[in-house]
Amino acid sequence: MARRYDSRTTIFSPEGRLYQIEYAMEAISHAGSVLGVLSKDGIVLAAEKKVTGKLLDLSGSNQGGYGGSGEKIFMLNSNVVAGVAGITADANSLVNYARQAAQRHLFTYNEDIPVEVLAQRLCDLKQGYTQYGGLRPFGVSLLYAGYDPHYNFQLYHSDPSGNYSGWKATCVGANSGTAQSLLKQEYKDDITMDGAIDLVLRVMSKTMDSTTLGSEKLEFATLTLDPETKQPKARIYRPAEIDALLQKQGLGKKEEDTEMKS
């Protein structure tokens, strides 16, 4: 039955479904998961990397750029970082679009783009691809961690249909159901930034395939206010910083492991 309504562009099936969007969502549910937790004084994002290997050139994430390997977590603007889950090629195109939209907003209004406005811009684009002929939807869900003076710290999620919603803590990608229910159990409204970092890493370690967390499988970022300038400050951790953080949290590779290997 499905084949009659999904071979070409997105059109409604007799049951009122849009198969192409459902397939896009399916693609995302296999992707490396992204997790976000909101606290009063900042936001934490973590993501599971799928593309790994000894031969992969990671010099880009060790120095230069904004930090991060450019696979899962991106700076969209000085006040917004995003985690992406889904088709990486589609995500790159959306990230580029978001960065341009943010710069256009800065140009016209001389202010950093409000987080929800940026989410709306991207969702307008995504929605268009569910309707106009000959196009397939973006196979990408995003988590936006941002700050603006209207609503302070905010966490949004958008999916391939062009829907978006605000969250205190959420997850997209593989095992997102498990992560979501863990977050639901453990999230407290008065969570601190340290508490949020701890929560994110613990949930991540439980939902990821590998037994131990490490910088080769993990991307990590925070958004806080600079205590001096009171401006939002995004920090995408570099591999060495991630390993140091994991070590501090007691989630890193155990010393014995390395001893065993040698």
Partner: protein, 194 residues
């Protein structure tokens, strides 16, 4: 001749504009409101070429309103000022530019600060503690240099404003008779009687 003043005080901005509509040497109306309420916490006093003024003010008013409808919250005063400035700057190099001068007074509800902007038809934008347009500026600016206090209460602010208006009535040959005075603070916009 058109006269408009504005000044900041402790948590508020005061705007005053004359209420006369002039055609050649005739006063055709004496109760014109030349201060538009752009959003719940934003006021704009406009003066300049008759026709251009109302056309441009309404264009701005509708666009600011549209932003508020689309995004649920209105543009903050600094962003609104930047957007209006760009409109004037682009208009300046178009086939027929608007010649409109503006004073923009607003209260930023997210940082709890009052803002006052002086803007002219060229697209010059600057944030100031007090400002004036028209012939009134030649009298009022020196008075305000002496008497303006950014920490003044509303009563004190109005007293300084009255000094300015009195000076214009006393010394300016073509002084307007009546003014409309509006104030914007954390509670929004209200008109005050002098």
């Amino acid at each position: 001749m058109e006269v408009s003043f504005a000044m900041t005080g402790k948590g508020y901005v005061l705007l005053a504009a004359d209420t006369t509509a002039v055609h050649s040497i005739i006063k055709v109306k004496t109760d014109v409101d030349k201060i538009k309420e752009l959003s719940p916490h934003l006021l704009m006093a406009y003066s300049g070429e008759p026709g251009d003024t109302v056309q441009f003010a309404e264009y701005v008013e509708r666009n600011i309103r549209l932003y508020q409808i689309r995004h649920t919250y209105p543009l903050r005063p600094p962003s609104a000022a930047s957007w209006i400035r760009r409109s004037l700057a682009e208009s300046l190099r178009s086939r027929n530019p608007y010649s409109v001068n503006l004073l923009l007074g607003g209260y930023d509800t997210s940082t709890y600060t009052p803002h006052l902007y002086w803007m002219d038809y060229l697209g010059t934008l600057v944030e100031v503690p007090f400002a004036a347009h028209g012939y009134g500026s030649y009298f009022a600016l020196s008075l305000l240099d002496r008497y303006h206090d950014p920490e003044a209460t509303v009563e004190e602010g109005l007293a300084v404003l009255r000094r300015c208006l009195d000076e214009v009535s006393k010394r300016l040959v073509v002084s307007p008779g009546k003014y409309k005075v509006k104030i914007v603070d954390k509670d929004g916009i209200r008109e005050v009687e002098l």
